[in-house]
Amino acid sequence: MADGGSGKGVGARLPRKEDDRFLRGKGRFVADIRIPGMREVAFLRGPIAHARIGAITVPEAHRAAVFTASDLTDVAPIRAYSGLKGFRRSDQPVLATGKVRHVGEAVAMIVAATRAEAEDIAGLIDIAWEPLPALVDMAEARATTTRVHEEWPDNIVLETFVDDDLSDIAATAPIVIRRSLRTARQCMSPIEGRGVVAEWDGRLDQLVMWSSAQMPHITRSGLSECLGLDHGQIRVISPDVGGGFGYKGILLPEEVALGWLARRIGAPVRWIEDRFEQLSANANCREHAYELTAYADGEGTLLALDCEAMVDAGAYSSYPFSACLEAAQIASILPGPYRFGRYRCRTFSVATNKPPILPYRGVARTGVCYAIETVMDAIAEATGIDIETVRQRNLVRSEEMPYTNVTNKVFDSGDYPEALRRAAAALDIPTLRAQQASETGPVRTGVGLSIFCEQGAHGTAVYHGWGIPMVPGHEQAQARLTPDGVLELRIGAHSHGQGMETSLAQVAHTILGINPAAVRLVHGDTALTPYSTGTWGSRSAVMSGGAVAAACETLAKRIAAIGAHLLQAEAGSVRVEDGSVVAPGGASVTLREVAHTWYRAPQLLPRDVDPAGLDVTAGYKPLSDGGTFSYAAHACAVTVDTETGFVTLGRYVIAEDGGVCLNPMIVDGQVLGGTAQGIGTALYEEMPYDGEAQPLAASLADYLLPGAGEIPRIAIEHMETPSPLTRFGQKGIGESGAIGPPAAIANAVNDALRPLGARVDALPITPRRILEALARAGR
């Protein structure tokens, strides 16, 4: 559409520019960085989930190589407080202080010539542990007298309550549904783990840190707070980053520790997280429990929903999203894309002796979609209405847009029923139902649907409401025409799989007509880019896309003024197109000539030229802070081998609407990658803990991730309802794919099990859970 026919602008399926270096192995990641004299760091991590730290004995020969909390006296703990009423504050020490609160918490930092030697030294350190009872289950943690944080009266980080008196409905509703659901604790698993290289630059009096981070400006703010350095004394660089997913938005204690260490020892240092650390100590996410009661009428209309939800928040409040975001989001987004008017929801964020829970792609949406879509299938079962119709009767309709739902979310635009209709039609449910009717053997077919909307690019008002350390404001971008006519774009967000080096070049092309190949995107360096909260929350296409457009529009005006002068045309009469300034008669000068004039031949400039030149900083916000609402319907078929409990995914269809796609091919990639992760949540990924809160999946042999062989062919149907709030009508869609699969797959598996009287109410749906459900049903 806005592409203008060149095939390179907004809306074009332009191949990703950045893939050239990635596919040739020319990317540069933190672990590729080598600095002369660089030393390596290993962390000695607590082997016990909950214990007081007694004497720490370091062999005399290694004293200088080992640092503990008693050395980091000038370092403040990580503080991620929420302003929500009742939020209990806790500090996350950079190195464990007094006691450890989860397995894997860093107790000592060891620096040596190599990582192996640092680990050798770690093995020589003796710590006198005084074990304390470990809190492994969030329900038990609510009942016990043991405290994760001694100064708290209990282990509740935050309780939220959306109240409504549902007794009138409870007394009269013909259908009452009750479900208890659990989702597993997972570990985010980007291909590249975290990693830090830190160096103190004496000339600039500045800490320079390369970090595998998706929000480098926020990392800098966090480092500033912990290290007592002003922002100017810290430069954070995120080079190529091999996947973020939320994990790399977190300020890690390891980052703070290395920042301190580089200055202390006067040598560059690095720590590269290994898979053991990522799995056992760091990347935890997703663990929810729901007690749901739903009331419906005989026609399948959901009348009211009553929920008590718990989130296992782990031991600490991570920076900047805090320990409350997950549960507080459950309360606000559980109603999903549905229009019911009565709602009560109480949530508890519970501290346990497990690593802090971190926001993973989709954050709470993956869990709540599973919860509400389970309710929809239960209503369908109770009423005998088919699974598509029962949802159609409850979805917000297109003519109601913009729609304010029961939790005051304002859905900006879209046609939710149409997305569901398309996904269901493409799945061909009647044929699958006929197949099911003919099945008598051990292999059973199941059909599952899910539909959700995804708030993206939500801004100031929303995050001010959470009261966490990070509140996004105007997103800024810089557009600079270089002396030879190349366009440099600088954004404070970071691209680590989102293809922004391409899609933002397409935005610039749409405004300036400049060839995307002549556009360079500078990102991931706090010294070179404007402040930004970064890439998270499905926001960069909207926020950085809007900011780049705004900067390019201002730049276009300045280019036009110079170009008109060179063309001896009226300033208002020229157009900027195809990389040139064109006068009404057809005469033109190229952007390169305009740039040359500004930088190299200023004697040719008009007397009244804008002295700000060809370097523009512009800010952008959508028309509302409430965010865009992309949405998608997932429809899938599964077969369940009821002898083994093995699930095979069959046809999988997604109908999605991300508004105007800057680059639909990149959007497809985002949806497919997210869906693969959602399949992991549905069927494979689980970090089990034993009764002492020891993590039991310490390698990828035990923590199962879906591989290429486990991902079916996924068909995507695009809809394109422009957002009325954003520059091009684009909506945030980066997290979308990860949200829908657990609900759709769980519903499909339970559909297959229904004739056998069995049901699984927990994720992931493993052979064990299916076989145990069948055994409970006497099968």
Binding site: T114, F276, E643, A701
Partner: protein
């Protein structure tokens, strides 16, 4: 994590290798199990003897009745048909589903038998075929039948200082069938249940091996080997859902034989 420091020696002959083992070295073949254990520091040997290129361990041989693979033959070499397959393709197929190709490129048959992970493939498949291993040690060479090889998880008849040289597999006679079923949650993972059944009427052999039992495999022989293996699973102390998987894999393997 990184491995603790160790010395690496590269013996040229079996005799040199045995001398290295006598000197406290631990044999390193493909390193696909030992490597992670070194990195996790679950194993901290002072010395490793790289036996992967020993000519005697890389060889293979055939007679009218048997084929022999050197212990350092890789899974990939079996998969690719670079060594003879006495089953006419079943062992190649089994090899092709061991872990991932990157693992198969380096992992060895002998290493798998010596490591004796209960959920590994060769332990069950080659035991069903009546295989035996040849072992060299300070006292000379000896032969061990695989049916008595494992005494528990990661525990075998291989003693300290001994080296597994080769595995010899009797050729099934015409008309014989080998069925092999394993249940994995995803491609490349260790099995949750394994059943291997050899039915060789000409030799009057019917042998059932049930693997992935968290210990030594269940082995039953004779005409009623199937029912006796099922009974052994019933007596197995593991969880009910896992026992169910063992039963199912056995039923399916027996079904393949009957088909």
């Amino acid at each position: 994590m990184k491995a603790a420091a160790f010395d690496l020696v590269r013996p040229r002959t079996v005799a040199d290798a045995l001398a290295a083992l006598a000197d406290g070295a631990r044999p390193l073949a493909g390193g696909q199990s030992l490597g992670p254990m070194l990195n996790f520091r679950l194993a901290t040997p002072e010395r490793l003897a790289d036996i992967r290129t020993l000519a005697a361990l890389r060889a293979h041989a055939e007679t009218d009745d048997t084929i022999t693979w050197g212990a350092a033959v890789t899974h990939a070499e079996v998969e690719d048909g670079r060594v003879p397959d006495p089953t006419g393709g079943t062992l190649r197929a089994i090899a092709g589903h061991i872990a991932y190709r990157a693992v198969r490129n380096r992992g060895t048959v002998g290493g798998s038998l010596a490591h004796a992970d209960p959920a590994a493939d060769w332990i069950s498949a080659l035991t069903a075929l009546g295989g035996s291993v040849r072992i060299a040690g300070p006292e000379g060479e000896r032969e061990e039948a695989l049916t008595g090889w494992m005494s528990g998880a990661f525990a075998t008849q291989l003693a300290e200082g001994e080296l597994l040289l080769s595995v010899t597999i009797p050729r099934p006679r015409p008309g014989a069938r080998l069925a092999y079923r394993k249940l994995c949650r995803k491609e490349g993972e260790f099995a949750m249940a394994i059943a291997a059944v050899l039915d060789d009427p000409a030799r009057a052999i019917r042998r059932v091996v049930v693997g992935a039992t968290d210990g030594a495999p269940i082995i039953a022989e004779g005409a009623d080997a199937g029912p006796r293996a099922h009974a052994a699973i019933d007596a197995w102390p593991g969880e009910a859902w896992k026992a169910r998987l063992l039963h199912v894999s056995l039923d399916r393997a027996l079904g393949d034989i009957a088909a």
